[in-house]
């Protein structure tokens, strides 16, 4: 046997050995990885959030790239800039977060105003006795209103506190008289369903509405609050460590790729990075634009700037969830419009009593602007996901992980779609398939 043949045989044996080794190793990694994911599922979400934040804020880090400055200092500067912006944003927002007194006042107002609107809706003027719609509304909405009232009911401690604030408490001036009147009216309020069912003249009907059932096993199921808190401590840590990464993680993983796929992997990783980065940053800008539009619109409708900004921030952030974001913006906006008082729209000719209608129109205009202008402008057509896929993804996300699942459904679809498309395209270009 010649030396060449011997060498060939040795090489063949080595290749076979290598294949067995790689397969065994891959199986082991899969088993251990699967077990860890199952056992440490609580950590998945904080890790994803931390990594996504690091990804979104990477351009800020790039802004601080000064060649004569050490990498660590550059990263610290970028963290300081992000921290400063966040600090001012939270500080501004904090001023508009209602305190204990305002929360109580809002609850009382909301309950009173909702019931006032409901009574206006079902009220039957003398000339409309034959109106068949009102009883129907009463029958359908009555139980719903009872549930609302139950959830807005002040507990004994809150009632005592409200009365204290009504008289002036903690160095604060007394609550306005009309809110105290609302509070008293709320105390006298009865259940709609019972009133309808009760025989004439019944003074105090027996309770027919069952109290809301306690959530079964809510306290015993799932990880404890401490565990959740310690898991969420991971998110900022991941953000910080990924911030300090100077391409080492990418180099490590590219280093594991076989030589045959080296250039392919570089191209795929790069394209994925571009697509996902553009999508995430585009979505963030889109949410910001939606928030600004809503804030301006609400201010023009006469809603106080602080409240308008608070509603716009929540609605803008939730806009990242297609369809659901708009619906939530509508609910929040309408909720406020129903309880708002002394509104003076900045646009002349608007009737303050029709505020709810204007809010609906504003949300619709913002949604149309988002679809027609913002999305094509900031996201382009780089990542087109079919509306049906969007709906299915959101529902699936909510079933798997609730609100977080809804929020991450579309980015996940984008990642998978881009990864699959790029991977197959490149595999063909590199003549591997």
């Amino acid at each position: 046997m010649s030396n060449g043949q011997e060498f060939e045989e040795i090489e063949q044996e080595r290749k076979a050995r290598r294949k067995v080794f790689y397969l065994t190793f891959a199986a082991l990694v899969l088993i251990v990885g699967g077990f860890l994911i199952w056992k440490l599922s609580i950590l998945i979400l904080p890790i994803i959030v931390g990594a996504l934040l690091a990804f979104v804020f990477r351009p800020v880090k790039e802004r601080f790239r000064v060649r004569w400055l050490p990498h660590q200092i550059q990263v610290l500067c970028s963290f300081a800039a992000i921290g400063l912006v966040l600090f001012f944003a939270f500080n501004t927002l904090r001023k508009h977060i209602p305190d204990e007194e305002q929360k109580l006042e809002f609850k009382v107002r909301l309950k009173y105003k909702l019931n006032e609107k409901y009574r206006q809706l079902v009220a039957k003027p003398a000339e409309e006795k034959s109106n068949a719609v009102a009883p129907l509304i009463e029958k359908e909405l009555g139980p719903l209103m009872d549930k609302f009232n139950q959830s807005l009911e002040l507990n004994p401690e809150e009632r005592d506190l409200f009365l204290k604030y009504a008289a002036g408490h903690n160095g604060k001036p007394p609550i306005q008289g009309k809110f105290v009147d609302y509070f008293r009216a709320n105390q006298r309020m009865r259940k709609y369903v019972i009133l309808e069912k009760a025989p004439t003249g019944a003074a105090e009907p027996t309770r027919t509405v069952a109290p809301a059932p306690a959530e079964p096993g809510a306290a015993t199921e799932g990880p404890s609050f401490e565990n959740k808190l310690s898991a969420w401590m991971l998110a900022p840590l991941i953000f910080i460590f990924l911030g300090f990464d100077n391409g080492q993680i990418r180099r490590f993983f590219i280093g594991l790729v076989p030589n045959r796929y080296f250039e392919l992997s570089l191209t795929v990783v790069d394209r994925l990075d571009d697509a996902i980065g553009n999508y995430l940053r585009g979505t963030l800008i889109e949410c910001f634009l939606v928030g600004v539009t809503l804030a301006l619109g609400l201010i023009l409708l006469g809603i106080p700037a602080g409240v308008a900004v608070a509603i716009a921030v929540v609605s803008g952030l939730l806009n990242a969830i297609p369809f659901v974001g708009t619906a939530i913006a509508l609910v929040i906006g309408l909720g406020y419009a129903l309880v708002a008082e002394n509104i003076r729209p900045l646009i002349p000719g608007l009737n303050p009593n029709d505020l709810a209608l204007y809010v609906v129109i504003l949300v619709v205009i913002t949604h149309v602007l988002d679809d027609v202008v913002f999305q094509p402008f900031v996201l382009g057509s780089a990542v087109n996901v079919h509306p049906l896929a969007v709906v299915i993804a959101i529902i699936s996300g909510s079933l798997i992980m609730g609100l977080w699942g809804m929020l991450f459904a579309i980015p996940t679809v984008v990642v998978i779609k881009t990864a699959v498309a790029t991977f197959f395209e490149e595999l063909k270009d590199y003549r591997i398939i």
């Binding site: 030589n259 250039e263 191209t267 590199y430």
Partner: protein, 180 residues
């Protein structure tokens, strides 16, 4: 070179000299200094380039890239031998055998047009790969360094074009040019 660059260079080399007297990083920078492609770069700039390069190891007869594949990176030979070949229907033509310090696949730094030849390791070979988009990223971070690399690349392409023109002129009879 500005005073600031000189100070940065001095600081870098003092640190490297103190802590990494025989580190692979220093070896790599020393190696890059010997490659004509990077001869215009200072030590600090070589460090920037070294930071974005990937080291790859190839077995004998293992393909580094194949003719027709989209190019993505330039390769420098750290040690070993690489054959550059083109395959035609029935035959294989070896265009060159490259050794330590040589580089190939440089056109991939400009675009992803298909490779014009196949590169294959003739023995166990170590290479350093410079990915196109990493070099583009360097344009934003350290424009001067990236600019010098692109300038080297342009100079090399100009040399090749000159050589090709000379070859064409040598093969074309002078009377053919004016006869048209």
């Amino acid at each position: 070179m500005s005073v600031r660059n000189l100070t940065a260079d001095k600081l870098l080399w003092e640190t490297l000299g103190r802590w990494k007297r025989s580190s692979p990083e220093l070896d790599r920078i020393q190696f890059l200094k010997t490659v004509p492609f990077f001869d215009r770069l200072s030590n600090r700039q070589l460090k920037s380039v070294s930071d974005i390069m990937f080291e790859r190891k190839y077995d004998a007869n293992e393909s580094i890239f194949e003719e027709g594949q989209p190019g993505a990176a330039l390769f420098l030979i750290l040690d070993g031998k690489v054959a550059v070949e083109i395959f035609r229907e029935t035959s294989t033509t070896r265009l060159a055998v490259l050794e330590k310090g040589a580089f190939f696949g440089e056109m991939a730094l400009l675009d992803d047009t298909p490779r014009s030849a196949t590169a294959r390791a003739l023995e166990r070979t170590r290479t350093l790969a410079l990915y196109r988009n990493d070099l583009r990223g360097l344009v934003h971070r350290d424009a001067k360094t990236a600019c010098r690399i692109y300038r080297s690349l342009a100079g090399m392409i100009a040399d090749r074009l000159r050589l090709t023109n000379e070859l064409v002129q040598m093969k074309t009879p002078t009377d053919d040019v004016g006869s048209g």
